[in-house]
């Protein structure tokens, strides 16, 4: 110890070392969690082409995630399209261009709102469901039992959920887009007096391949995020029923945040591609 004017001070190197150690301790858990997440997701994706295939589990998950989410996706899609139509009409009225409502609703839904809203809904409904189901299995030692009985839990539980979400979320998004356009048309027809031909022709013609590609690729990527995050938090559950609740909340929050982060980067890529073409 150095002593300066009666106050004990520690050597600079010791402070730096201690700060480094604390920083390391602080960073270690998130770095390990990230590593575990990518290891789990990597193994799950590899298992898609490895035997045995659990087809029954895949179809069951497709039913739970796809068919189960359909009513809420339709409902939200319909009202989103209707609200979009109302809001856009108000803005376009200023320029006397209410006839272009179909274009704007179409672009907004296909490029952004369809994929993001549907994914957020599926995250709220299924990432939580996956996390709580796997979390319950973890705390009741069903995962250990599965391993002890010679089944790889990643292959049996994680891969079917990721594959089912990746297959169903783009389909749900297409449905949400279409229903949203129907909602937009209903408003445009009843309140703005637009004809069906006016609305649907402008809504269809404005769409380019770039829009359709990102409208399908985004939900596919978001599906990987939603399902893998749900599985990850479920499988690392500890602490009994309280832990299951914690994992469920964490899964929904993390999946929702990552959807928006991924959306930003994907949109940036597609905007660049559109400019190049």
């Amino acid at each position: 110890m150095l002593r300066v004017s009666g106050i004990e001070t520690r050597p600079y190197a010791s402070i730096v070392t201690e700060a480094g150690a604390r920083l390391f301790d602080l960073l270690k858990p998130p770095v390990l969690a990230t590593q575990d997440y990518f290891t789990l997701t990597g193994r799950a994706v590899q298992n898609v082409v490895r035997r045995p295939f659990y087809a029954d589990d895949l179809f069951l998950q497709m039913d739970i995630i796809g068919v189960g989410s359909l009513p809420i996706v339709i409902l939200i899609g319909l009202f989103t399209g209707a609200v979009m139509s109302l809001q856009m009409a108000r803005a376009l009225e200023t320029y006397g261009a209410t006839g272009q409502v179909g274009q704007i609703v179409s672009i907004t839904l296909v490029r952004e709102l369809g994929p993001v809203l549907t994914s957020i809904l599926v995250a709220g409904r299924n990432a939580s469901g996956i996390a709580s189901e796997l979390g319950s299995m973890k705390v009741t030692e069903q995962i250990d039992a599965m391993r002890a009985l010679g089944t790889d839990p990643v292959k049996k539980l994680v891969t079917p959920r990721i594959a089912a979400t990746a297959l169903m979320l783009p389909v749900l998004t297409v449905i949400a887009d279409f229903v949203g356009l129907v909602g937009g048309y209903i408003v445009a027809s009843l309140l703005l007096n637009l004809t069906a031909s006016q609305f649907w022709t402008s809504a269809w013609r404005i769409l380019e391949w770039n829009d359709l590609t990102q409208g399908l690729l985004k939900p596919f990527i978001f599906a990987l995020v939603v399902s893998s995050v749900g599985c990850f938090y479920g499988l690392r559950t500890t602490g009994g029923t309280q832990g299951v609740g914690r994992s469920t909340t964490q899964a929904v929050v993390a999946a929702s945040v990552w959807i928006f982060i991924c959306d930003l980067f994907l949109t940036r890529i597609f905007v660049s591609l559109a400019r190049m073409s």
Partner: protein
């Protein structure tokens, strides 16, 4: 520590298991030989369950080596271990029954999962499941799901599932924990019955000294279908070895008589006296 022999079923060599910064097992060494019954005593959080999971390769040691049926499983991949685990039956503390499957599907799971031939998948499975459930006197629950059964019945189904493949080694994680004394004794009686009728090697983790008493001092009488006191010459007491864990450390290993001579207050809690 004796050298590993052909009849070595489980062998720990200076095994340490660490969770975060906590040592769940601290330099544990022991060997379970074929035909032995190993009773592992310890208070809550002493590392008993971790020890069983480590023996099965479900938990990886930070240091030391674990041998199962003579094979070093310390560095084995999950896939490599599946074959070895097929020779082990496990009853988990929480039961570990799959709550989305019926009792029949639960008990059939190990058979179906390991069967490769279609005829083995279909033909023999039902008979084996029924036989295993008959053994634990729960043949009438085939169509039920685990949530419809009591805690004791779920534990019995767990035993049926563990023994349906007739494994060479049975691991029981706190089989009587959380059960009333009568149900706990029923479960222990089933374990004695399985030991004496199938001659399996057994490791039981428990905190109840009564469980050790039943395992060391009783045997199954196939004629009466009941347990009866085991005479000295039956060899059961020689084949029953006791271990006591405290805070992840092995503080006692020996026979029933050696355990009864212990004066350490912690170890003495698990002393067995013939009643």
């Amino acid at each position: 520590m004796p050298d590993a022999t052909d009849d070595s079923v489980v062998r720990f060599e200076n095994v340490t298991v660490v969770f975060d910064d906590l040592k769940a097992l601290d330099g544990i060494s022991f060997e379970i030989r074929r035909g032995q019954t190993r009773i592992i005593f310890g208070a809550a959080a002493s590392g008993k369950s971790v020890m069983l999971k480590t023996a099965l390769g479900l938990v990886r040691p930070a240091s030391g080596r674990v041998f199962l049926f003579g094979q070093d499983i310390t560095g084995m991949s999950e896939e490599q271990m599946f074959t070895l685990r097929g020779r082990v039956g496990v009853l988990f503390q929480e039961g570990g029954l799959f709550d989305s499957l019926t009792i029949e599907e639960n008990v059939a799971y190990p058979v179906v999962n390991r069967a490769t031939a279609p005829e083995e998948r279909n033909g023999d499975v039902t008979n084996r499941v029924r036989e295993a459930l008959r053994f634990v006197e729960l043949e009438h629950t085939l169509e039920k799901v685990p949530s419809e059964l009591s805690g004791g019945m779920r534990r019995r189904v767990g035993i049926a599932r563990a023994m349906v493949t007739e494994p060479a080694l049975m691991l029981y994680d706190s089989p009587s924990a959380g059960l009333d004394p009568i149900t706990a004794n029923t479960i222990m009686a089933l374990i004695v019955k399985a030991r004496d009728t199938r001659n399996t090697t057994i490791a039981i983790v428990t905190h109840r000294y009564q469980d050790g008493h039943i395992m060391a001092d009783f045997r199954y009488n196939p004629e009466s279908g009941e347990l009866e006191p085991a005479p000295r010459e039956s060899g059961i007491q020689e084949r029953t070895v006791f271990m006591v864990l405290r805070d992840g450390c092995l503080v006692f290993e020996g026979t029933r008589d050696e355990l009864n001579r212990q004066h350490d207050p912690y170890v003495a809690r698990f002393r067995i006296t013939r009643q």
